[in-house]
Structure formats: structure tokens, C-alpha cells
Amino acid sequence: MQIYLPVAELSANWLLLLGLGGGVGLLSGLFGVGGGFLMTPLLIFIGVPPAIAVGSEAAQIVGASVSGALAHWRRNNVDFRMGFVLLAGGLFGSTIGVQVFALLRKAGQVELIIALAYVVILGAIGSLMLAESVRAMRRQRLTGSTRRGKLHQHTWLHGLPLKMRFPKSKLYISALLPFAVGAFVGLLAALMGVGGGFIMVPAMIYLLGMPTSVVVGTSLFQIVFVTANVTFLQAWQNQTVDMVLAVLLLVGGVVGAQFGARLGQKLRGEQLRGLMALLVLGVAIKLAVDLVVTPQDAFSLGGGRAH
């Protein structure tokens, strides 16, 4: 049951990897997210070097997102104009991210930064989601129906220059805004091995004010290209993409996601989001504890193998 991962240079149980892909795929189908933010930490927990986990997970997300992106394209749910601005930012952010990643690796700090990024981002997102879903559940109990707050509010963000029309999203906003969102998410994609949908989707809805009908399709469109860029650059500059690992996770993930999506239709939205929030917080807490608890041995062999 062992398979040798040629680039990671370690042997792992391929059934475990398929199962891991399937399990995370199930959750991602259930909650409608990419699952990179769960898979990368899990890979690290089972002993895959963090740099390989991040690089290979980027490749897995390319594969996991492409069919979804195509489906949304066919249903005309992609705002290409918005997508290209986000993508420009994403390519910019992810290219810088990969360079930063290489520097951190040399300095022996890449594991720390990956863990810190996960703790901060997952901690924040998890807390927000949990608070939101608790509020929604309470509101539903009071009024018997879920209501949304006002989506479109005018703030200083709307005074920025380089205004652009986005007819499909019915928006007239500064192009700097989606560019910045794309760049931030691209940076995280390179550093954390995630697609970034869990940040992109809320940012599109609450920050840019895009209609929800085009949010998922546009975000998937952007994710495919940004993670493809991360995969290419990580493979080229850091040699940290293991395709045997990525394909095993991908196959498990695609199958799991199909079951997850079916299961998801039977559960209520607020409960799902609450569960998801707990899961996200759980991963953040586990990583935070690992950073704070005294390590078994303060000494380790680091940074790049000697060949």
C-alpha cells in the first residue's frame, strides 16, 4: 500500500492519501469551499514537508476547481471583466508570494510563517463565520426567516480612482479594489497552498458588493488561474510540487466532493456554516497550540536537503 512520492522523497500509504483527499473533498462539497486550507495542514500533520504540501496542494486545487469553473461558465455565472481584474491582482500577488516563500525557506522560517498565516487567517475567518451563523440561527428563531443586511453601502472605498464599469455585476467601482483583493488572495495562495475562496467569496460580497449569482463562478475562474500560476512557479523555482501526491489527492477529492454536495442539500445553511466555522477554528487552534507548546526538541535539521 506504500507509494514512493518522487519529489517529496518519502513513501506514504496511497490509500491514506486517497482517503484524505476524499474526506477533505467531502467537506469541501458539503460546505462549497475548496478545502486547501484543510488539506495543507493535514498533509503537514502526516509528515509531508510543509514546502511540498503547499506546492502540491496548489496543483490539486487547479484540478479540483477546473470542473466547477467550467460548469459556472456554461451557466453564464462568470463576470469575466471582474475576473480578469481579480486575476491580474492574483498573478501579481502569487508571483511575489512564491519569491517570498523561497526567501523564507532559505532563512529556515517558512514553517513558522505558514503556521502563523493559518492561525491568523483561519482564526479570524472561523470566528467571523461562527458569530455570523449564531446570529443567523438566533434571528431565524425570532422572526422565522433569514434576512440579509444591506449589501451595498457607500464608503471611502468608492472614492478611489481608476473607476471601471462591471456591467455583469452591475457595479461602477475602482479597479484598484478587486486588484487588491486578488493580490492579497494570490499572496495567500502562494504562502499557504490554498485557493483562497474562503476569503475571496466574502470579500466579493461584502467589500466589492457583487451579486451572489456570479460570486462563486468568478471566484473559481480566478482560483484556477492563480493556483496554476502558483503551481508553475513553485515547481520552477522551489521544486516543491509532487504530482504523484497531487493526483492522488485530486482523485480522492473529486469523488468526495460529489458525495459532499449531495449530503449538503439535506442540511440547513446556518447549521452548515456553523459546523464549517468550528472546523476552521479547530485547525487554527491545533496549529496555534503547536506554535506555543514547548517542542520535544528545540533542535531540528532545516531548510533544503543536502544532495
Binding site: 506504500q2 507509494i3 514512493y4 518522487p6 519529489v7 522523497e9 518519502l10 513513501s11 496543483a59 490539486q60 487547479v62 484540478g63 479540483a64 476547481s65 477546473v66 470542473s67 467550467l70 529556515g108 522560517q109 513558522l112 502563523l116 484556477v224 496554476a228 503551481t231 508553475f232 512557479l233 513553485q234 515547481a235 520552477w236 523555482q237 521544486q239 510540487v241 504530482m243 504523484v244 497531487a246 493526483v247 485530486l250 482523485v251 473529486v254 469523488v255 460529489q258 506554535l291 506555543v292 507548546v293 514547548t294 517542542p295 526538541d297 528545540a298 533542535f299 531540528s300 535539521l301 532545516g302 531548510g303 533544503g304 536537503r305 543536502a306 544532495h307
Partner: protein
């Protein structure tokens, strides 16, 4: 089973040959194989080392993998979290180390001899940068040894070299799944009264073969092309997997 049977037959034949030669040389030894191939299903392996001696003495076997630099990092607590704050780069560190002996190491030879031949994990070569203070060197060297032991790449408890009769000996050397590739050096020493009276070395090779080796080579030699292919494979696999699932 057939592999074990073949190894046993080989062992017997070579032992007989060795026993005859041993009259001329104080020590003759060989490995069941001089090459380890890391294939797709590789999950570690064992090699058999066997030989014969003329006269009595202790047998010590030292296996070392290709040497190279090794950076040891130390974590300390900064603002409540553990961060790598210090590092020492050692040169000439064997990537892999195994020692086996017919008696506890401290009863074999002299400390000077053990140091010279890198017998025992404390004697394995690791050159620190010049000007490293002795205390710092000791700390980081111990850290290096512990890290190598955790990875299963070095051993501190010597393997057992067992004698069959007065002259024939054998031991097994285990190689974990993460065994580094390259040229290995296997040394066998015959030690008597604190002196080495015979020695033999045998080279050995660990290499990747098959599709795994090709992928690794491609990923490192043509990194940009590998990146492009990786993206294409991911796109194709993702599309194919979901298409297959939709149909069924």
C-alpha cells in the same frame, strides 16, 4: 520468499568461498547486494552483510551515505511562540549512518580508533564552521544527532553482528523508506586487543529507478517544463475525474 531463498543460497556459496579465502586474508566480507533501487513501491529494505575472519576478534561494520552539508537550527521562545533563532551549518555530514558490532562498542578497540573510523554515533564526522565555541558545538552536534536519529537515518544502538562458529559472521543492515540516494561506503573492521588487524571496504549504491526517478529528474533538471506539465496534468485529471463521475 523466493528472494529470501536466493539470498540464503548466495550466502552459503559465498560463505564457503570466504572460508577458503580467509586462510590468506584476515578478513573477507561482502553484501547480499551492492545496489538498492528505489522503485515506486519502495518502503525500505534490508541488506545482508556476511564474511569470514581468520582468527578471533571483534567485527565492526560502519555504513555511511554520501556526505554533505547539514544545517541544524535551534528554536527559542519569542513572544510566546517557538521560532528558529539560531543555526549552525556542518560540513561533511554523512546523510546516512549505520553501525553494527559483535560486542558493545565501548568494549571494542580504543576511543582513538573509534574516533578515527567513525565507529559510534558520537564519532561521525560533522565539521563545524571555524570559531564555533566548544559548548555551542557540543549542543548543536547533539541536536544534529538527535534529528538524524528521529528521521531514522542514523542509529545509535549498534546492530548485532553474530558469529556462526568461530569464523563466519553476518549482520543485517536496514534502510528506511527515506534513505538518501548516492554512493555509500561500507567498512568492515576486525579488531583484536584494541587494534584493528583487518579492514575491508565495499562501495554500495542507492538509486532511484523507474518512473519515480524520471519524475524526480524532470522536476529538478527541467523545472520550468515540469511546472507546465504539472499544471496540464492537474487540469486534465480534474476535468477527467469529474467527467467520469458525472457519467457513472
Amino acid at each position: 520468499m523466493s528472494r529470501a531463498a536466493r539470498a540464503a543460497a548466495l550466502l552459503l556459496a559465498l560463505l564457503l568461498a570466504c572460508a577458503r579465502d580467509a586462510a590468506a586474508q584476515p578478513l573477507v566480507a561482502d553484501l547480499s547486494s551492492h545496489e538498492i533501487s528505489i522503485t515506486t513501491g519502495f518502503s525500505g529494505t534490508e541488506l545482508l552483510l556476511f564474511g569470514a575472519t581468520e582468527g578471533e576478534g571483534d567485527i565492526v561494520v560502519v555504513v555511511r551515505g554520501p556526505a554533505g552539508p547539514a544545517t541544524v537550527r535551534r528554536k527559542s521562545r519569542v513572544l510566546g511562540i517557538w521560532i528558529n533563532t539560531d543555526s549552525v551549518r556542518f560540513e561533511g555530514v554523512p546523510s546516512f549512518y549505520r553501525v553494527a558490532s559483535s560486542r558493545p562498542l565501548d568494549q571494542v578497540g580504543t576511543p582513538g580508533m573509534r574516533q578515527r573510523h567513525q565507529i559510534g554515533v558520537g564519532a561521525v564526522s560533522a565539521r563545524p564552521p571555524e570559531g564555533t565555541s566548544p559548548e555551542r558545538l557540543a549542543e548543536f552536534r547533539d541536536g544534529l544527532v538527535r534529528a538524524k536519529l528521529r528521521e531514522g537515518l542514523w542509529n545509535d544502538v549498534p546492530g548485532q553482528v553474530s558469529f556462526m562458529g568461530p569464523k563466519l559472521f553476518r549482520t543485517t543492515i536496514s534502510f528506511p523508506p527515506n534513505v538518501p540516494t548516492g554512493i555509500y561506503n561500507v567498512e568492515v573492521f576486525l579488531v583484536k586487543d584494541g587494534r584493528e588487524i583487518g579492514a575491508q571496504t565495499a562501495p554500495m549504491r542507492v538509486k532511484k529507478t523507474g518512473i519515480g526517478a524520471r519524475i524526480y529528474d524532470f522536476a529538478h533538471r527541467h523545472a520550468a517544463a515540469h511546472g507546465l506539465v504539472a499544471v496540464l496534468i492537474a487540469l486534465a485529471a480534474g476535468w477527467a475525474a469529474s467527467a467520469a463521475f458525472r457519467r457513472s
